[in-house]
């Protein structure tokens, strides 16, 4: 296998890994909980800024993880409590309220960090030799880490009933309460975990991506399309969606350029949205 195909394979793996990481948070908030969180991208962006902050303070990159957890978690709790909970029965209004929240978060970050590009240094982004062709160590680490996280999540999801309880609660809240499941607290926990995961993906990607307040929208749209195509509520759906969307984008881009890659993703999503309209949002 010459180094060319290895490089292509690694590039595809990197694309799928970033897509899976940034979609994970939304898979819980939108996939399990059914909340259309249009501010998902902004939480990813805030994770990246956590990395910028710790580097400004001269702390090692790893300390950005606790910072992101605290910031995204605190904000997530407040947002679920005062913005999402009053709107649970109104999906359109949730969509609009979280869109307004996204605008607000963008402006807050702009106020604190200014609009300029930020760069997060990491020693690991320097290349190492893979079958003769240089490849950034950090990306390798990211791919391996994502595989580990996904495998761990798969096992945990099968073992523990947390994911099941959230899905059960969303499908039939009365029955869930009858079985002693505190639906309010569970909804809050699920939302907070979802946005914290989004923030953590931002921290992990910070050294590789451009960092500015406006990057949230791209991650939001990609994540939505992955879940729409892959199907909601199951990890299999998440993997399926990542495979289809990531694969289609990568292949079409290499053939016909990035714009048609993005157009193909849009068309696939439209077809899937059209094919199963009720399956997607059948929240009784």
């Amino acid at each position: 296998m010459d180094s060319g195909t290895v490089l292509h394979a690694l590039n595809l793996a990197y694309e799928l890994a970033t897509l899976a990481l940034t979609t994970l948070g939304l898979a819980i908030v939108f996939g399990l909980l059914g909340v259309m969180n249009m501010a998902h991208g902004e939480f990813v962006m805030m994770g990246a800024y956590a990395a910028v902050t710790v580097q400004q303070w001269g702390l090692p990159l790893i300390t950005a993880v606790p910072l992101a957890v605290v910031v995204c978690g605190g904000l997530g709790y407040a947002v679920e409590r005062w913005l999402i909970r009053p709107l649970y029965a109104r999906p359109f209004d949730t969509l609009l309220a979280t869109w307004a929240l996204a605008m607000l978060l963008r402006k807050l970050v702009e106020a604190i960090f200014g609009r300029g590009y930020r760069n997060v240094e990491s020693a690991l982004t320097q290349p190492t030799l893979i079958l003769g062709s240089p490849y950034p160590v950090y990306r390798l680490a990211l791919i391996v880490f994502t595989l580990a996280v996904m495998a761990g999540l798969f096992v945990w999801y099968r073992q523990s009933a947390a994911g099941l309880r959230v899905r059960a609660m969303t499908a039939n809240p009365i029955l869930a309460q009858a079985l002693g499941i505190p639906t309010r607290r569970l909804a809050s926990q699920a939302f907070v975990i979802g946005v914290v995961l989004a923030g953590l993906s931002g921290v992990l990607l910070a050294p590789l991506i451009r960092i500015e307040p406006g990057i949230g929208v791209d991650y939001l749209l990609d994540a939505f399309f992955v879940l729409v195509v892959g199907g909601l509520g199951t990890l299999g759906g998440l993997f399926g969606g990542v495979g289809i969307i990531g694969g289609a984008q990568a292949i079409t881009s290499s053939i016909a350029g990035q714009t048609s890659g993005y157009a193909v993703v849009l068309m696939i999503s439209i077809v899937f949205l059209w094919l199963k309209p009720d399956g997607l949002f059948s929240r009784r």
Partner: protein, 228 residues
């Protein structure tokens, strides 16, 4: 632990369906609430279980006033409620339905129940949406007993269930009663009720038209309120 409910009034929005019902369930005894469709049986049970706010009335469980406490806090206090319909999470498997709310994995919650209802054991990995109406009721009944409640509130547990399984349900209820558990069951099937019930309340148009020990009232008198 005994449940006492006095002057229960509840309904939906401004239309009050249940107009003042009182009664008691002692430990180890079973109370059946019977009556024709639309007389307010389910509404009463929802009020007692904490699903519907009570316009009036009081609920004492084990000496404590739990009138306003929320539905999801009742399981921890030993009360388990099974609704009349939408009784399973259709998307999840039979096994998932049985275990998702439990933190422990101790299998003997269900060993005896699986012996009585082998079909549930057989179809554990199937989507519970694929079960028939009666099989879903059986799953709900099994899950409720699996919680080992001190008081089980069941809303028409036998609807659509095969006759031989109904007898096993009655047998299980009698067995659990002997261990001190109590039951409050809304039912239309008089045969099933008379297999285990100690006391009966007959409802008509939301009011108590008849109550007392099943033995004293006798089946014919009750049947007159039910039959066509």
């Amino acid at each position: 632990m005994s449940l006492t409910f006095t002057n229960i009034v509840c309904g939906y929005g401004d239309t009050l369906v249940v107009k003042g019902v009182s009664g008691q369930v002692q430990a180890g005894r079973a109370l059946a609430i019977v009556g024709r469709n639309g007389v307010g049986k389910s509404t009463l049970l929802k009020g007692l279980a904490g699903l519907l706010p009570l316009a009036q009335g009081q609920l004492i469980w084990g000496g404590r006033d739990i009138t306003g406490s929320a539905l999801h806090t009742r399981v921890a206090q030993g009360m388990a409620y099974t609704p009349q319909d939408n009784v399973v999470f259709a998307e999840l498997s039979v096994a998932e339905n049985l275990w998702l709310h439990l933190d422990d994995r101790d299998a003997d919650r269900y060993t005896e129940l699986f012996e009585q209802f082998p079909l549930l054991a057989r179809r554990q990995s199937q989507r519970s949406g694929s079960l028939s109406g009666g099989e879903r009721k059986l799953l709900a009944f099994t899950r409720t007993l699996g919680l080992r409640p001190k008081l089980a509130l069941l809303d028409e547990p036998t609807e659509g269930v095969q006759p031989e399984n109904i007898d096993r349900m009655a047998h299980l209820i009698r067995q659990r009663k002997s261990t001190g558990a109590s039951f409050l069951i809304v039912e239309q099937n008089l045969e099933f009720v008379s297999a285990f019930a100690d006391d009966v309340i007959v409802l008509d148009h939301g009011e108590q038209v008849l109550q007392g020990a099943l033995a004293d009232l006798g089946r014919e008198r009750i049947e007159r309120h039910l039959v066509v």
